[in-house]
Structure formats: structure tokens, C-alpha cells
Point group: C3
Chain length 355, copies 3
């Protein structure tokens, strides 16, 4: 059985282990179209070449979360093929725009390990970075994931918990992305709300909801070449507690981001994901709604753009976003109802009123 | 709730009100591929660059109904987010071909208003126009839609019913689209039936049928960035009479157009939609068949192309297109069985036998 | 009913009859993206432009089975619209790479005919060839298919059974495809297994499984413009023994090829399909697993690449690929369990260890 692959188990990981994930992936306009078709994204910067031109870009970049999900997918065969659960994200930074025909290569390094006390599994912390064909880093992120052990008796590396920052400091965010009078984006969205018009503590209930179909999440997850079995093997998943395939969490992030267009029309791009968790699983047939709270307003030392730190909570099968409750994040994790599927803390760039 | 958008209600519309819809949209080869994958279109002009070359075009244009559905989708957030039903189309004219990488911007003007006697809703008539990045009008259409009132007691504008033409006169159709010996299209379809071979009153039963899946219509409708809730929010739709999401009517038009390839193989493009109605709703799982009757043959003052005015009726869950009945349109609306989903009156360009 | 098409029935075919199928089809990057989204393909050569560069290609070609399925789809309206079953493939040879924006035209010739003894149907053997816009043959194949008679009493042509080779000889395989040190592909897959590392008789259990959704196979089959009714007309198929639409067999081949990435990571491209049969039908909801056996190692008189003749068996709704049994092909057809859906014999190119 020399060529029957089974992925890495917890005892296979070592601190400092580096992986070049297979294989690089060239993204194209075809991937963009599918991304719109699968998520319903209407984000201005990515919807029209003319919009990107207003923001000072020569070409229309590819959507941030298409890039994130593609890069994430690359890491799955090496890191999370035998995962119990994806536990969290930290320090996700979007460093440069990615354009159609760019080729992304992704590498990861193990930065933390902690065997669980039951010795059946452990938590792996990795720093992953996606680089384009010119060698420019376009995206970097930390995630931690609980991975099965092949053999509970196998010895494991000593515990190392990496330092994790709860929020990406403004000084570490990409600021050089926009060169023009980005306020013109308003002319295309018809909405005048800019950075200056959002208040810390303000809540936005996004008006639309989206039912997830089996093909939607399957096509999306395959597009990202993500091979995690829980998303694809309906026969095996039928005997799990949920009784069916799990929707890939990154698809839920994409849907919530798309739904959040209404109320954040002039958002330009995602600068960082500070943290996030997939609170409960989503299955085909579930309908996703979401609401956003402004956690902070960040001065990016630019007269063109400011940063908004946002918390978006996604929930399923509710009568409307107004039902979503924003519980405190004291202690790092909020208490959530069983219908909450996503709690995401991220930072976007949005134009400021011209000085 | 300052940034929680809820769309326009009937009392928000005023005669002459103009809307620039958010945001322009660049269409690409990726959108074309999805359109083929979602509808099964085989239309010759759009299937191969070499076919378009035979018709005298430098590049392969994007399918007419991809353009229509994309432009239509843009109008939804402003016009029909709170719609009860889309009632009709009129004077839809395809004015110029659209190519991959073209960017469409869409504007609408309110041209008619009529509050319903129950004061709970009203009918809004709009003229919408899509323009490409060079400022060229590529598509214009009238539609009317019944929209809820936010507050039944709210005062509304005085009733204005715009003049509507039942058919687009030949003189108002785009004629300049084809410059070459378009008869060569026959060489690629293997079918010799041209304009001269169709008779007024002739009926064509299209041989294929197509079952609509939930992901099919969801992906299509998202691709068009159409946000009408009835197509996406399965949780809310579960408590409506139909019990599930409605299939976007434009997707049904696309499917019927694709099915009508068999029997109309040499059709070049749609010049106009004279009128149409979504007679009954379609749900996922329904199987669509259609038949076409030739209503008129139009002389377009061209020795290359002629016009065929066609009436295509789509029906669901029948044993074959032969079961479809063509009832008279006396009085503007036909009596239809409950399995009829579409009654469309449109005009196509088709090559004439070379003189 | 002069323009209501019904396709060819068995009695319509004659030996030597040639068909130019409607219409040519231009493939694009959009089709590639959909192919990845629908199948989950990760094949190195097609996943990144940089990978194709390592193999000495100026551009990234389109996936072999996207080309095959597209070309196959073109033949359906003329050959298999009234098919009972697709019986087999032979001498399928991939002759040249196909690139985005290439236009494929497909022609077929009837090379064999055999009426069944019940006189209700017969077997049609065709040789089909796809040619690109420069007139270069890119793909050629034989298939035979059982087709209904319109009229059981109709006279048919005399029986001719064409000679069929069980395997494409190495001398007839395209060898000129790769010009560079293709071993560098290993750097992108992270796997070092090359031609020299595979043994005749070696078995590979591919670790992943894939559940097929209705939209997946519908979108794929429409993308290929394949119009066979059994894949699309759920209303009529509800009264057949299976009770639902059949998944197009070519989609199952694509899924098995995609799943076979794990264990054959450095495979470059398919050179030939020696034979294959769709042993049992697949329906939406079925989960596909597969295993591969190395049947032969072919010397292609190249120091860069060698050939592997592989037999891949796909099965549905099993606990894992290890359950699949490889029965003898004595007498041309293996005995298979009812869960086996595909038995495919094909030849791939894979780099050799540098001399």
C-alpha cells in the first residue's frame, strides 16, 4: 500500500517543520465568476474593472476570500486531512492584491503543538503564507486545528503554545493598496457612508439571507482544491452525529461577507482577520443570516482610507438578522446559541471623507 | 438601524425618479462558461469564436440573456427587493453586442405608478437601460412590478400608466449587427432552415426537457447579482404557500431559449422581447419543456438577416412539448393551465437565403 | 412537425456515414475553472501555469477529460440522442494539448453496425475525431452505443463489426508533448514517485471519496453541451427503473481521475483510453470511491517520460477504496459487484527518473 496516501497525523508533526503544499494554483477570471455565482458577492472593487480603476488600480483584483480559501485549501492535504475540527484563525493579513492569472504557492510552518490529555489527538498551530509568481507574499495566517493521532500510544513532541495576538495592530496592516481618490467608489454604490460615518458599537443587520445547497458548497470547496473528507464523503458522513456532509467553514465566511454588502457598501477590501471561529456546523439546506458590529475605527495614517474592525456573527434558520445576539468575548470565546455558525473578527479598508 | 437597508417600498417611488444601480459589472469568459453550464445553451453565435467569425464579428459576443439577466439583476435592490410579483416586460431591445471584459452600468427611470385599491401595494413601471464602458447603450427595457407598501396609510403619487407597445416595430430593431455572409452559420449547425423556411403559424415542439436543481437557479441568480429574497431565503419561503424558494423567472427564460435550439438552430441573436409573463412559479425539481410558434416574419431591410417573431411557451412536468397549448392572446393575456410557467413573445435575427 | 428534431434512430445509420457535429466549441479559462469546481481535479500540469512551464509548455493546457467530455458531448445529438446505453470505448488517443481559446470541431464516421436480434435496437460503432482551429487533430476515439429503432420493422444495414484493439500500442501514443525536465513536477507535488517507482500489479487505494449532487452532474453535462435526455429530464426518468436522472458516465470518469491524484501525483496527462465501461448507473447522492492497478509499464522511447497502463475501478457507497475487487478481464468483461460503476483501462504519461 506504498502509494495509498493517508495524510499527517498528530504524531507526525514537529516544531519548525516546513511544508511546501501541492501544488501552486493559477487563479483566473473563471474562478472569479464562480466565486460570484457561489457566494453572491457584490463587493464594488471586484465587481467591475471600472470600479477598480476608481480606486487607483490598473486591473480588477480577485476577491480576498477567493484568495484566502484557495490558499487555505492548499494546506489541507498536509495539515488537516485527519482533522477533528478547525479551531481558530489568528493574524490573517492580506498583504497584496491578487489578479487573474497570478499563481499562488503556499507554504506552512508548524509553530505550536499540544497533545490532548486523552492522547487520541492534539492541536497543531501553523503559520501559512501564500506567495505569488513574483515571490511577493500576498497572504499570511495562523490557524490551529485539532488532528487525530494514528496511534494513541505514539510519542509526541513537547507542548509549545505560540504567542497569538488578539487583533492585528494597524501598523501591521497593508496600507499601500489604494492610490486614488477612493471616495469615487460611492458613485458606483449609490451609498455615501464612509469611514467617518461608522461609529464604534454601531450594529448593522444585513437584510438578506442565503440558503446553502449541496452543490454550492461542494463546488466551492472543490474550486479551492480543499480535500477535507467531511465536506465530500456523504456516505461516511451519514453515520456521523450530523448525518451529512459539513459545509466548509470558509464558504460560510464568504457568504456572510457577501451578505454584509448591504450596510457596508463602500468597503474596499479585507486587511486582516483578527480571529474567528466556526461555532456550530452548517449543513446543506441551512439558511444563513448575519449581523455586524463595529468594534473599532482604525487610523491608517492615510487621508484616503481608514480601517474598521468588525465583528460579524452568522446564524442559521432565523427569521432575520435582528435575532442575532452579540455576547461578550470576555475570556476569548463568546457564549453562543446553537444556531450561531460563525463569529468573525476582521478589519476592512474603507474610504474616508476627502479632507 | 441606520445602515440596515430595506429597499424601496411603493410609496418611495415618484414619477421621473432616476436610479443609477449599484454597481457596474464586468462580464468575462468565466461568466459565459457558467451561463453554458447553467442553461445548456448551444446557440451557434456564442458557442465558438469561429462561428462568430462566420457572422462577421471580430470576437464572440456574450449571450443575450446573460446580458439581460445581469442588467436585470442590477435593478433588483432598488426596484423589486420588496416586490410581490414581476408582472411583465415590454419593449426590450438588444441594441449592441456585449463582449467579454465589457462593463455594464444600468440606470432606471420610473415611468408609471398605480397604487392598488387595497392600498397595500402598487405597480411600478420602469424603463431601464444598460450601457457599456464606452457609453454605448446595449440593452433597454420596460418592466412593471407589484411592490409592497411599507405603510398602507402612506400617500402615493397619482396614477400614471405609461403607453406600452405590444410589439417592437421592425424599424426600432438593431439591424447593423451582422456584416458577413451569415448563411455560413448553417455549415456549423448542419441544419439548412433559414428565415425563408419558417412559416407564420408554424409550431415547433422542442425535443428536450430540463429539470431545474436548487443549485442551478441559485448559482445563476447569484451570478446576476440579483438579490430578490424569494430566490435565496429558503427558511422564510418555507412558510409561504409554495413552501420553498422560487426559481428566478429569468433563469426559466434562459432554459427555454436553450431548449429552443432544436428547431431554431440557425437563430443568430435576440433582437427584442415584445412581452412576456411568468405565468406560474417554478420550483427546484420541476422539469421544463417548451414549444414555439412563429407569430410573424419581419423584413429587416437586409439581404442577410430577417426577423422571426416567436411565441415560446414553457411548461413544467409534462410528457413532452406536444402537450403545450397555444391559447389566444386576445385581451393581452392568455388563459393557461397551471403547469405553464412562461409565455414569451420575442423577435430573433436569423439568416436569409442568399439572394 | 417539420422542425421538431428527434435525432437518429438505428435504421438511420449507414456504414461510412460521416457527420460534422454541431457546432464547434471554443473552450476557455472559464471552462477550466468549472471543471475544477465540478470534479475537484488537482492534476499538476493543469493547476498552475508555473507547473506547465516546468513541463516545457508555454501555456497551461486544458485538462484531457474536459476536452474528451466536450468533444463527446458534440456527438450526442447525432449519435446517441436515442441511445439505450453507451457500451464501450476503444482506441481513445489524446494527440495534442488543447489550450484556452482553442476551438474544437468534431466529426464522426460510422464504422460498424449490428442490429439486435429483437429488432428493437442495434449497436452503432463510430470513430470520432476532434480538430482544433488550426486543423490539428487533438483527440480521436471509437465508441459503440446501443440505439433504439424508430420502427422495429425498418430494414437495417448489414452487420459489420469493426476490428477493435484491446490496448493502444506505445508506438501509436503521442510522445512529443513534453520538452523539458518534467521531473521538476515533483517539486510542486512534494511526492517523488516517478515512472520507475511503479510496479506492474501494484495497487493504489485512493484515499478520498466524492458524493455526486444533482447540480454537479447537470452543470458538467450542460457545460459539455451533451443533450442526452437521461441526464436532464427528471420527469420522464421518474418512471424508469432507476426512478431518477442518470449521472453522465463521463462525469464519473472525471471524478475518478480527480480522486486518483492521491497516489499518482506526478502523472502528467492521459495519452490513451484503451477501453472502459460504465458497469452500473450512478445517481445523485451516490458517493464514488476508486482504486487503481498498474497493468503495464510502457517504454515510450523517451528519457523524459514513460507510460503507465492503469486500470481504475470506481464504486459507489462503500466504506473505502480497499473494498474494491479487481476481477480478471478474461473474455473482455469482468464480473463486477452491483456497486461498481466504472472499469477504465487507460495510459498516462509520467516523468522518468533523470538518466
Amino acid at each position: 500500500m506504498g502509494k495509498s496516501r493517508s495524510g499527517n497525523y498528530f504524531e507526525d508533526f514537529r516544531m519548525g517543520m516546513r511544508m511546501r503544499h501541492a501544488t501552486p494554483r493559477t487563479l483566473t477570471e473563471g474562478d472569479r465568476s464562480l466565486y460570484i455565482g457561489l457566494t453572491g458577492s457584490r463587493a464594488a472593487l471586484y465587481t467591475a474593472a471600472t470600479n477598480a480603476g476608481l480606486a487607483g488600480l490598473e486591473r480588477r483584483p480577485l476577491e480576498d476570500l477567493l484568495v484566502f480559501n484557495t490558499a487555505f485549501g492548499k494546506t489541507v492535504p498536509d495539515i488537516s486531512l485527519n482533522a477533528v475540527a478547525n479551531l481558530g484563525y489568528s493574524d490573517v493579513r492580506f498583504l497584496a492584491h491578487v489578479y487573474a492569472d497570478d499563481t499562488l504557492a503556499v507554504e506552512s510552518e508548524v509553530i505550536g503543538l499540544k497533545e490532548n490529555s486523552n492522547r487520541k489527538s492534539g492541536v497543531v498551530y501553523v503559520r501559512s503564507t501564500a506567495t505569488n509568481q513574483s515571490g511577493l507574499d500576498v497572504l499570511t495566517w495562523i490557524r490551529w486545528v485539532m488532528v487525530h493521532k494514528r496511534d494513541p500510544a505514539a510519542p509526541c513532541a513537547a507542548t509549545v503554545i505560540p504567542p497569538l495576538v488578539p487583533v492585528v495592530a494597524p501598523s501591521r496592516l497593508a496600507r499601500h493598496l489604494y492610490t486614488a481618490s477612493v471616495q469615487d467608489i460611492c458613485m458606483t454604490t449609490g451609498v455615501t457612508d464612509l469611514w467617518d460615518d461608522y461609529e464604534v458599537g454601531e450594529r448593522i443587520d444585513h437584510c438578506a439571507a442565503m440558503t446553502v445547497n449541496d452543490s454550492d458548497h461542494s463546488i466551492a470547496t472543490r474550486l479551492y482544491q480543499n480535500t477535507a473528507k467531511a465536506h465530500f464523503d456523504g456516505f461516511v458522513m451519514a453515520s456521523t452525529p450530523g448525518g451529512q456532509r459539513l459545509v466548509y467553514g470558509g464558504h460560510i465566511i464568504s457568504i456572510c461577507k457577501a451578505l454584509s454588502y448591504d450596510g457596508l457598501e463602500n468597503a474596499l477590501s479585507i486587511l486582516a482577520v483578527n480571529g474567528g471561529s466556526h461555532v456550530n456546523p452548517t449543513y446543506a439546506g441551512d439558511t444563513i443570516s448575519c449581523a455586524t458590529m463595529v468594534l473599532d475605527k482604525l487610523d491608517l495614517a492615510s487621508d484616503k482610507i481608514g480601517g474598521l474592525r468588525l465583528r460579524t456573527i452568522g446564524a442559521k434558520n432565523i427569521r432575520g438578522a435582528a435575532e442575532i445576539e452579540f455576547h461578550s468575548l470576555e475570556g476569548g470565546r463568546a457564549e453562543h446559541r446553537s444556531n450561531v455558525v460563525l463569529d468573525l473578527d476582521y478589519t476592512i479598508a474603507i474610504p474616508r471623507i476627502a479632507q
